[in-house]
Symmetry: C2
DNA sequence: TTTGGTCGGATTGCATACAATTCGTTCATG
DNA sequence: CATGAACGAATTGTATGCAATCCGACCAAA
């Protein structure tokens, strides 16, 4: 009944650009769109039955999130992070996530714990499956864990920062990931959730830190940086 | 001569929307545009001799930064942060800035130290002046100190986050600031810079934390939250 | 084969026209 | 006087047209 006053009965003419943005972002995070893929305004618009204006707005949003790189008079492309950018992403996560874990620890409640359990169950399920499709879902779920953590922390600003960082991490892993170290990640997620449930903020922070270390250690961030002239002389 | 290859001789047809965005952002941070001010697309466009399309793009950027709130079919307004949002801003800074200070400590060099000194000198200069004009410059310079810190840290992602947080802080201070506690802030900036120069990351982090505490303590975040029905029943 | 130049298609940047929505005003009614 | 409906001005949401720009194909010359 509590919906009757606030929530409109029908869809409130949702922002179409945001819908397009969400679809494309999911496609990028799920690796259905590889780094470097061209995203033409006309094509995107046609795909969602919208004009270039709306498609352009969606691409602009994605460009703010760092998932899409736009070049003037050339168009928008799925971002192709350099190793340096990849390191920046993880350095940012090292700065932010321990603090988020501490906040989450202070605010976590029974229903949050239930959400964590559901999340971990999802991860286990995907982990059991095989094939590229399952692997994509697994990466997605792994990111969702960190977003759940941020949501529990209860700070919308930090949540938005984490959304950006998690999405960019997916791109980085797609580009530089070596193996399925995500299996190792799952048990770490369990430990983190346990520390949170126990209210041990310090331990949760330390575990998160180690977890990020492990994710980054599984990347191959050397010599892939395309020794192109362009990068060599880049200012 | 090193400019001859990379940098174009003429201005490279800079993005006009970004120019508009920067102007409006400065106006907001400098308090020339107060919270709640309507920013009509037509007016903004006319002011910069551009069409609504470009003005709209600029407003969209500012909306992503949290400086402008857009309501569908109603338009864009300078953000009017609630006390809760204000607390989120400072909570985010508490999470991020100590980490930035640590990174800055690890990378700081002689030229950076010189920049800090120049920055502190600027602050002193504005502090000596009187009048609302001087006070605006003072607030701006105070924010610039934190941005310089983030720039020295060398992580573009965290720098962008800090740009957003500093800008929103200005709004919050404009709304809820009590007195000129910024004077107290200046000596703290000096201490922080000293700790950085000495390479004492731990002390720098602790000082930053206390500094943020002091800034927030000078705010009056109670009972100003407009006990409007709208907020009372907000989901 | 490689280098340099020109042309044409395709795409973006921007301005503008039209449709949809909102809000203040006016006015009729209880 | 208070309430509510209806109208109209103003503003935003969206589509589309035109000019500017870029890129690849093609071709000529060394």
């Amino acid at each position: 009944m509590r919906h009757s006053i606030i929530e409109p009965v029908e869809a409130p003419a949702e922002d179409r650009a945001a819908v397009i943005r969400d679809h494309i972002r999911n496609a990028i995070v799920d690796r259905r769109l590889g780094p470097g893929t061209k995203l033409s305004e006309q094509e995107v618009g046609a795909l969602f039955d919208a004009s270039r204006t709306v498609a352009r707005a969606a691409l602009q949003m994605l460009s703010f999130e760092g998932l899409v790189r736009t070049e003037r008079n050339r168009g928008a492309f799925v971002a192709n992070p350099t190793p340096a950018e990849a390191r920046h992403v993880f350095a940012s996560r090292r700065v932010i996530e321990p603090g988020i874990a501490a906040d989450a620890c202070a605010r976590i409640g029974p229903d949050d714990i239930a959400r964590f359990e559901a999340q971990l169950a999802d991860e286990s399920r995907y982990l059991a499956l095989r094939g590229p499709e399952a692997r994509r879902s697994e990466i997605k779920a792994s990111g969702d864990f960190h977003l759940l953590l941020a949501r529990v922390a209860g700070n919308p600003i930090l949540l938005r920062f984490m959304e950006e960082l998690v999405a960019r991490s997916s791109l980085v892993i797609a580009l530089y990931g070596r193996t399925g170290a995500s299996t190792c990640g799952h048990s770490e997620h369990q430990e983190i959730a346990a520390a949170l449930s126990a209210g041990d903020a310090e331990r949760a922070g330390a575990l998160i830190m180690r977890h990020i270390d492990h994710i980054e250690a599984d990347l191959d961030l050397n010599h892939k940086g395309s020794t192109a002239l362009r990068d060599a002389i880049a200012v």
